[in-house]
């Protein structure tokens, strides 16, 4: 079985990559690839507990905000990816520390990876895709 690491490097706001990344992760998992998802640089913001589109002040329209809150509750979405066969969600410890984010602000399901662990996961993968 081929293995792939999907790297999330951008925040969920300001670009359309969040949906593309989730769709790709699900597709890869469905096709029986061994999938791990890594969060690095500003991508760590996507995993913050309670982060929604409205908390970023993106949309002030009430009905749109309610609808998008469901779509953009990132940490919950990523947690649910395990149901699709995603093996691991891991966060670059250094990226989080640089942004003053602590372990308690992430869902419990994630793995905390220091630089050495992070590199190990990348070197073990057959393919890497970056979003």
């Amino acid at each position: 079985m081929k293995s792939i690491v999907i790297l999330i490097t951008r925040p969920a706001i300001g670009n359309g990559l969040y949906k593309e990344a989730v769709d790709t992760i699900v597709s890869m998992a469905i096709f029986n690839l061994s999938v791990k998802v890594g969060f690095v640089q500003d991508g760590v913001f996507q995993l913050l507990n309670g982060f929604t589109n409205s908390s970023a002040g993106v949309d002030t329209n009430e009905s749109n905000r309610d609808r998008r809150n469901i779509q953009k509750r990132q940490s919950t979405t990523f947690e649910e990816l395990k149901e699709y066969g995603v093996e691991e969600l891991f966060v670059d410890q250094q990226s989080a520390a640089l942004r003053n984010i602590e372990v308690s602000q992430f869902p419990q399901i994630i793995t905390w990876a220091d630089t050495k662990d992070f590199k190990k996961r990348l070197s073990e993968a057959d393919h890497i895709l970056t979003f």
């Binding site: 792939i4 490097t9 951008r10 769709d23 096709f31 970056t130």
Partner: protein, 131 residues
């Protein structure tokens, strides 16, 4: 060695498609095989057949078409990204014909084709960090 490429960049605002094209040409000239080229996210614009030949972006698209014709390449545009980029196939019925914008030599397909490329290829190389 079997390669597949993922192109994230649009031809009118990114160097990625041209770099990917040059990489693909080198891969083929050195006797390797190219299983698939997958145009994703903004890269879906590479499948726009309506871009003028006089434009640099149009030239890159023609280069891809020419290479695909010579080597029977599989040039796939992500169908979800294509919708956002205005790339669509020609559709018709007894009532009328809807003009398509998909360039000749390209085809629209889902993310399953990307997963398949990851499984069948030794190397999956991406061009143009998604933005």
């Amino acid at each position: 060695m079997v390669f597949s490429l993922v192109v994230y960049g649009a031809p009118h605002c990114s160097q990625a498609p041209l770099t990917a094209f040059r990489f693909a040409s080198s891969v083929l000239s050195q006797g390797h095989s190219l299983y698939r080229v997958f145009f994703f996210h903004a890269g879906a614009s590479n499948g726009l057949g309506t871009i003028s030949d006089d434009d640099e972006a149009g030239k890159v698209i023609r280069d891809w078409q020419s290479l695909a014709e010579q080597h029977s390449l599989d040039l796939v545009i992500c169908i979800g990204s294509a919708q956002r980029a205005g790339v669509k196939e020609q559709t018709g019925d007894s009532v009328g014909l809807q003009q398509g914008t998909l360039a000749k030599g390209f085809q629209l397909a889902g993310l399953g084709q990307l997963a398949d490329a990851a499984i069948k290829s030794d190397r999956l190389v991406s061009f143009g960090i998604a933005s």
